[in-house]
């Protein structure tokens, strides 16, 4: 076992060596521009892109023509939301999203508000799921788009996508989902789920960074988005720019591997995740954040009360994890996702996210368990809050200095 151990697979994943192998020829002898129609170099590159498009389509159950390659999920989110807003402005200007979305969605919505959009930010329940009745109540005749993420990047909860898309469609709105954390990890089928637009990226599923997809439905209904990048009219006019051929080939291969290995992989990862979670919640005053029945197989988000996340991560220096605490950021605000669940700031500051992945071993999980326990106990020995808790002091009754 090599140290440090990588348990931050929701941030990014390592490239699968099989993906790398598929990509390599496209950097060297197959270097052509996929848009060069008049010679073999272009044809070879185009073939690679076409095959990748097929591999992507197979994973999410769509047709090749519905796959628009982008530079990643952030661009795909931008293109989907801004593109729909611009294309459908005659129909309405109302967009519905949720407070726990990724910044790529939230900040795009905020930008559109400046351009005249009305945006509803649905709150989530304390398990991280949206309330379907609230969604239905928020729908209006002006609603053109409902965009709700598939699986959450911090806590891993899976939203009731089928029910959400049904509500959106009932009111004549389109349904979009940022499925960056879900595609390749759990079965996602755009038809079964009623998805009209979907964003995801390669680097969260063992593919390369810098490439992603916006799925855009072509039938029932035919969805159109206004291009946000103008130029040579690539990708059916929706996203100009020379295609990142090696990246796209890698994305295709990554999709194929996920499709073939997902079932077994999900079982293995959820078993390891449960082992980790069960062991760590044996520690006093530790809590799992988010719904535990509807969630991705590879994420555990745990708050260890009375210790601060960043300090904790420092004590777990051989574990690469992430924390909802934001002591390094200028704002010092803890995770907005955890706060949306109604978690108090101190519990949000005490959270650690473990993101397991394809290359995570049981030995590594055993190490992570021991390492975390030791670190939590060490920091609690240093923590005045832990001491007060042990003495029975009610911390909520103390008048803390304003900060």
């Amino acid at each position: 076992m090599e140290l440090p151990i990588y348990l931050d697979n929701n941030a990014t994943t390592p490239l699968d060596p099989r993906v790398l192998e598929a990509m390599l020829p496209y950097f060297t002898n197959k270097f052509g521009n996929a848009a060069s129609r008049n010679h073999a170099f272009g044809w070879v590159a185009e073939e690679g892109v076409d095959y990748a498009r097929e591999q992507v389509a197979k994973l999410i159950g769509c047709t090749e023509k519905e796959v628009i390659f982008t530079s990643g999920a952030t661009e795909a989110d931008n293109l989907g939301i801004k593109g729909v807003f611009e294309m459908y402005q005659d129909k309405g200007n109302h967009i519905i999203t949720a407070t726990t979305e990724h910044k790529a969605v939230l900040d795009t919505c905020k930008h559109l508000e400046k351009l005249g959009a009305k945006v509803t930010y649905l709150k989530v329940k304390e398990d991280g799921l949206i309330d379907l009745q609230e969604l239905e109540a928020a729908m209006t005749e002006q609603t053109i788009l409902v965009t709700i993420m598939y699986g959450n990047n911090e806590i891993g909860v899976i939203q009731p996508i089928k029910e959400i898309s049904a509500i959106a469609h009932k009111f004549g709105a389109l349904f979009m989902t940022d499925a960056t954390q879900a595609v390749g990890k759990i079965p996602v089928d755009v038809n079964a789920d009623g998805i009209d637009l979907m964003a995801f990226s390669a680097h969260k599923m063992y593919g390369p960074k810098g490439v992603g997809v916006l799925y855009v439905r072509r039938k029932n209904p035919r969805v159109k988005v206004t291009a946000q990048i103008d130029g040579g009219g690539h990708e059916r006019g929706m996203r100009s720019g020379t295609l990142n051929v090696p990246g796209i080939v890698g994305l295709g291969k990554a999709c194929e591997l996920c499709r073939l290995e997902m079932d077994e992989e999900a079982k293995r990862l959820s078993t390891l995740r449960d082992k980790l979670e069960n062991a760590l919640t044996q520690l006093e005053e530790s809590y799992v954040n988010g719904n535990t029945a509807h969630r991705l197989p590879h994420v555990a988000n745990i708050s260890f009360k009375y210790v601060e996340g960043e300090g904790l991560m420092m004590a777990m220096k051989d574990l690469a994890v992430s924390s909802g605490s934001a002591c390094t950021s200028a704002s010092l605000e803890p995770s907005y996702v955890l706060k949306s669940l109604g978690l108090s700031d101190d519990l949000a500051h005490s959270s650690i996210r473990y993101g397991l992945g394809r290359f995570t071993t049981e030995e590594e999980i055993d190490y992570a368990i021991e390492n975390t326990k030791k670190a939590v106990n060490h920091l609690r020995d240093l923590s005045p809050l832990w001491e007060m808790f042990k003495e029975g002091v009610d911390l909520s009754k103390i008048e803390w200095a304003e900060h």
């Binding site: 210790v307 960043e310 390094t328 200028a330 010092l332 020995d381 001491e387 803390w400 900060h403």
Partner: protein, 137 residues
């Protein structure tokens, strides 16, 4: 962001972790920060009849820099008089630990904790409290 060697050293081997009897007349206690902000420091001093600090202890809930700042503060306090201790400035801590700008608030908190502990001692022993600096974070 990488931590400086000194922060890591104090964090790994914190000095003077512990608790003094807060009810004792010779002990001054400062409890500053707030759980919601992700930092709480408790710093205690034991003072002899000549107003010399003979012992100092801390416990901190916070990031590595906060823990290192309070650990360093306890080291510096021991052997100083309570008047000398007032001269410890947060920027001395920043310099000693090579804290980056985003961690300066940790040193500010440590300075607040020192002053608050001294005030607690002063008030307990019939002295006027010194004026607390306005919290800058």
């Amino acid at each position: 962001m990488a931590y400086s060697e000194k922060v890591i050293e104090h964090y790994t081997n914190p000095r003077n972790v512990g608790t003094l009897n807060k009810d004792s007349k010779s002990v001054g206690t400062g409890l500053v920060g707030a759980p919601e902000c992700g930092d709480v420091m408790r710093l205690q001093i034991e003072v002899d009849e000549n107003n010399m600090i003979t012992d100092a202890k801390f416990k901190t809930f916070g990031c590595g820099s906060a823990i290192a700042s309070s650990s360093l503060a306890t080291e510096w306090l021991k052997g100083k008089s309570i008047d000398e201790a007032l001269t410890i400035d947060n920027m001395d801590i920043v310099e000693e630990l090579a804290l980056p700008p985003v961690k300066i608030h940790c040193s500010v908190l440590a300075e607040d904790a020192i002053k608050s502990a001294i005030n607690d001692y002063r008030v307990k022993n019939g002295m006027e409290p010194i004026e607390m600096p306005k919290s800058h974070h």
